[in-house]
Amino acid sequence: MIDPIRPDAPLLVYAHGFGCSQHMWRHITPAFEGKCRQVLFDYVGCGQSDLAAFDPVKYASLKGYVQDLLDVCDALGIERGVHFVGHSVSASIGLLASIERPTLFDRLILVGPSPCYLNHAPDYLGGFERQDLEGLLDLMDQNFMGWSSYLAPIVAGAPQADSLGGELSESFCSTDPTMARIFAQATFFADTREELSRVTRPSLILQHGNDALAPHSVGQYMHKKLRDSTLEVLDVTGHCAHMSHPHLVTAAMQRYLSLA
């Protein structure tokens, strides 16, 4: 947690997306320093988490990651008032957590969400066919072949990001290839469309104007299914507006949370 300021200050809990770690929020958090309590964490299997705690069965579905989010809140004694900020798959994780424990959440900000990456023609276009997503897993295998041994010193010593310079940068997007693969499977084969209508907390959908991972129709679909949702399309190409265009994301967050 950063900013252990007044206990009644608004509370932001950030959850990173697939392929990254909490570092991805570093351009967003400065805008809320001094005004909000901010909580950042890595899912087990990602970033600087305790890899020994990784359970391949638990983390094979989004439920395992939902539990991580709830565990983080429990560990910090947070019982209500969470303004959740989740990127990509974490949007789904936050929504599922809000169904499980609605009293914990105030509202949710979803950056580049998608309830389902698979096409289910003709009613739903997630953007991808099954073989595309299986191709992604193969691609991950080919990219991370030698990573386990290469990452050993980082995992063991958990040094600061800057001390390793370029080397850690390479590892920034993934830790253990086996765990990353399981996370990828949980992420890209998840289908939470049915759950959307069970969400009771209000949400802001921040969609990228041109996102290879989530077509326009996905944002509209979510907006239609999520009660009390607001859809805002950012004029951004890519899937990581909070990294590439942090000012747009912080402005949208401040507007939505009336913090400007």
Binding site: C20, E129, D132, G135, L136, A212, M243
Partner: protein
């Protein structure tokens, strides 16, 4: 001055989010079309769907974070829809016209095929190792079952002579020098008559029932063995002659509880007690002494215990 078009490697310049600004001739050979056609398009269009996801979830975040990415493996959509495996290097660079990303693509068909084989081989090896581990486990289980079988008497389920030998050897190795042990040799009286008068099934029933009684009565440290036809042995660690005599009494009681068509069942018991010794003939001598004691018990009219000197 060397022009980018002369470099033997596909190169491209994009804006920070991947809109194409410049492409060299080598690149166009791979993907087809003209530079003018591609300008302003997103580089996502050059990638297969899987590579698009990988690019958005790994490559661009890495570039944002570290300003460069090295040896990233991707698939391009080549001329005529062909998939072209490439290794990609990219750096974020400030050029005169603002922030850009400079990309270099190396076609890696051979390497990709080779790595694909390696990954497949690794998966096969892992599968093989798993199957091997599973079958080892199976063998271990069967070995345990087998050794259990080879140490048991099939009729009564008691341990057999071989088990007795093993237990005694172990006791000789591990017990302290001052330790006592007693051995009871138990012989069912007039067993042949039961068999002759009522048939072998009745004889077997008597043995099984008696075995069940003495096994149930035994201490955890005791070993109850079916030694031969109607002969049983009780191995009683830490029991001196007095304690062993009390146990022998209980064995007689066990016999009395067995119901037989031939009437009451009794046993003759020979008791031998010894202090710890290491010799190989330790058990044999103990058995011999207790056997002689049984002989004397029979001579004394049966249904009694005789203690060996």
């Amino acid at each position: 001055m060397l022009a980018v078009d002369d470099i033997p490697c596909a190169m491209m310049i994009t804006d920070p989010v991947g809109h194409i600004v410049r492409m060299n001739r080598e690149f166009l050979v791979l993907i087809g079309g003209t530079e003018a056609f591609w300008l302003g398009h997103s580089m996502d269009e050059l990638l297969t769907p899987a590579s698009r996801i990988f690019s958005q979830t790994h490559l661009f975040p890495t570039l944002h974070h570290a300003k460069s990415a090295r040896e990233v493996f991707l698939h391009l959509r080549g001329v005529g829809g062909e998939t072209v495996p490439v290794m990609v290097n990219a750096v974020s660079k400030r050029l005169e016209t603002g922030d850009h990303i400079v990309w270099a693509f190396f076609v890696a068909r051979e390497r990709s095929r080779f790595e694909g084989e390696l990954i497949k081989a690794r998966a096969e090896a892992q599968g093989l190792a798993q199957r091997l581990a599973a079958s080892n486990q199976q063998v271990e289980l069967q070995n345990r079952q087998l050794s259990e079988l080879s140490l048991s008497d099939p009729l009564t389920g008691l341990k057999n002579r071989r088990a007795l030998e093993l237990i005694v050897q172990k006791w000789q190795r591990t017990a302290s020098r001052q330790s006592y042990v007693s051995l009871l040799m138990v012989d069912v009286d007039y067993f042949k008559r039961i068999n002759d008068a009522h048939g072998h099934p009745e004889g077997d029933r008597v043995l099984v029932n008696f075995a069940r009684q003495i096994q149930a009565d035994a201490r955890g440290s005791d070993l109850v063995v079916r030694y031969g036809g109607e002969e049983f042995v009780l191995w009683l660690p830490d029991a001196d002659a007095e304690a062993a005599a009390r146990i022998a009494e209980r064995v007689h009681k066990c016999a009395r509880r067995v119901r037989s068509l031939a009437g009451p069942v009794t046993v003759s018991v020979g008791l031998a007690c010894a202090v710890h010794q290491t010799g190989a003939d330790f058990l044999a001598r103990l058995l011999k002494r207790s056997d002689q004691a049984v002989y004397r018990a029979k001579a004394l009219g049966r249904n009694c215990t005789v203690v060996s000197d």
